[in-house]
């Protein structure tokens, strides 16, 4: 079903490389399994046929722009709705220069949950990822080019573009209003049970930092968790230190998490990392009024912009 869209992607990539507008295209290619469509880096025109897009192209590619942070190389990057919010976040954090990137927006029909794969050899139907059911910005909120007739929109709403009907039928965004349900359930646990649950999660955390390394909001050039020299915390995966890590990470992406859900997807320990982010954003909404990160380039931030007129929590 994606064939015309993929051809359009390859064509635009080929043109950008041929005209030397960019040196690298960051997209996806088919991976080593039917249910994997991992990132691909294309530098030559004759490689554009590697580009692929299907409902396993779940990786948010925005993070890779950080690898070009200190170079003047121009790169083009493909984005789904959620990924494009990451791009805005990176621009707002002064991590990438707008003029050095070309953002190509895609229509998205929701991504499949590969964790539900039952037969690794034969393709079969899969449910959508929760984040896609809960998605409010299925269209790119920011793009320099568009493919698949999608439109840029910073309004939350329905999918646009070539298979918008299909996307809606697949329930993309159908649970958007109920996106805080999971965190509410967690939050409403009796406190002893809640503590115990998070203790178990913290114990499990490997401190592999996949959640941090894939996140476009985690974009510090150096992270205190990498450094044993400054001794803010221990590098060892002790339960107490892991809790400190989990909480610090969540607090550090407060007001900046773009809800791409990548942190939770990549966690090898099955920790519901995203629910921590949701908990924080729910609080921000409650205290500072409704706010979604990475929607508009020029927005004021509820936490990091200080406005005398606003009384928090009133």
């Amino acid at each position: 079903m994606n064939q015309p869209l993929i051809i359009e992607m390859r064509t635009i990539a080929q043109k950008l490389l041929a005209a030397r507008t960019v040196g690298t295209i960051i997209g996806w290619e088919k991976g080593s399994r039917w249910y994997l469509t991992p990132p691909a880096f294309i530098h030559n025109e004759d490689q554009v046929d590697r580009l692929y897009f299907d409902r396993f192209a779940v990786n948010n590619l925005a993070k890779y722009l950080l690898d070009y942070r200190d170079s003047d190389e121009k790169v083009a990057v493909f984005v789904k709705g959620c990924d494009s919010r990451g791009i805005i976040r990176l621009i707002q954090d002064n991590q990438v220069k707008k003029e050095n990137i070309i953002v190509i927006g895609l229509p998205c029909a929701g991504m499949y949950d590969r964790a539900k794969v039952e037969d690794p050899e034969n393709p079969h139907d899969l449910p959508l990822l929760n984040k896609c059911l809960e998605c409010r910005y299925p269209n790119p909120v920011y793009a320099d080019r568009l493919v698949g007739e999608v439109s840029v929109s910073s309004e939350s709403g329905r999918p646009t573009g070539t298979y918008s009907g299909f996307a809606t039928a697949q329930s993309v965004g159908s649970r958007a209003d109920r996106r805080f349900e999971a965190v509410d359930t967690l939050n409403n646990l009796p406190s002893g049970q809640k503590a115990l649950l998070w203790q178990t999660y913290a114990e499990r955390c490997l401190r592999c930092y996949a959640c941090r390394n894939i996140c476009p909001a985690c974009n510090c050039a150096g992270c205190i968790f990498d450094s044993d020299r400054k001794q803010w915390t221990t590098k060892a995966a002790l339960q107490s230190a892991n809790s400190f890590f989990l909480v610090t990470r969540a607090m550090h992406v407060a007001e900046r998490c773009v809800e791409c859900g990548e942190c939770e997807r990549v966690c090898p320990a099955g920790i519901p990392v995203m629910s921590l982010n949701r908990l924080v954003s729910k609080e921000i909404n409650r205290l500072c009024g409704a706010y979604d990160a990475g929607i508009e380039l020029k927005s004021s931030f509820p936490l990091s912009h200080f406005n005398l007129a606003v009384k928090v929590g009133s």
Partner: protein, 286 residues
Amino acid sequence: MANSLDPAATADDVKRINALLPVKAKILRITQETPDVKLFSISTLDEQLPFPVSPGQLVMLSVFGMGEAIFAASAGENCLEVAVKRVGILTEALHEAKAGQTMGIRGPYGNGFSLDIFQGRNLLFIAGGIGLAPVRSLIKHVLNHRKDFGHLQLIGGFRSPKDLVFKRELTEIWPVSEDFDVAITVDKAEEDWRGHVGYVPDLVKKLKPQLDETACILCGPPVMLKNTFNVLEELAFSPENIYTTLEMRMKCGIGQCGRCNIGSCYVCLDGPVFSLAQLRALPDEY
């Protein structure tokens, strides 16, 4: 083998067997060598040599509560001498330590220079900055067994005149030792400096050290090493006759923590001394 072990090992056994456990030692003396280098003399608590080391070998020093770091060591009379340049948190803590303080030491690690190979030959020492520390421990050995070696020459390079480490040996003792030429260069001279100015590789090129029957021992920062290798080869030194010690980040010292490898060699076990010929056979990753 795994199965033949005594589960009833006592705390003392643990100390004896556990290679990662430092022994307690104390700082006997501290000498300020340059503004950012101090020389520590470290002995056991009862002022004995903690363990013998041979030139080129390494020891792991710990400041309890701060961590550990690896250094080249040289054996003094009743102590080990370790030159420490202030570069990071641990070396900072060392620099703040006072004589008499307890610290931890474990080792020795690594192969050290293989002294037999140098027997009867002329030796050319080239050292940059604190790289003089391992070279000095070899020089001390050579001077103690002077008749076993031929002509000696040292070319030393430092950032500036005030960065000269082991100054007394460099300027007073070695130059008047038998058959020992010493040349020193600094990157940047100051008022009353009369010696050479410039980088080590250039001075080596200029001095054209003689090469027959000569082994060259070269220690210093990676950039200096790489540039000087080239000059030496231009001067027709063969890679088999050039020896160096490498520095790597190290945690265990016994080939287990995995980080100090170059190819399948562990610098802490198979090094830190390598001939250039050996290095050339390894990936260029140091």
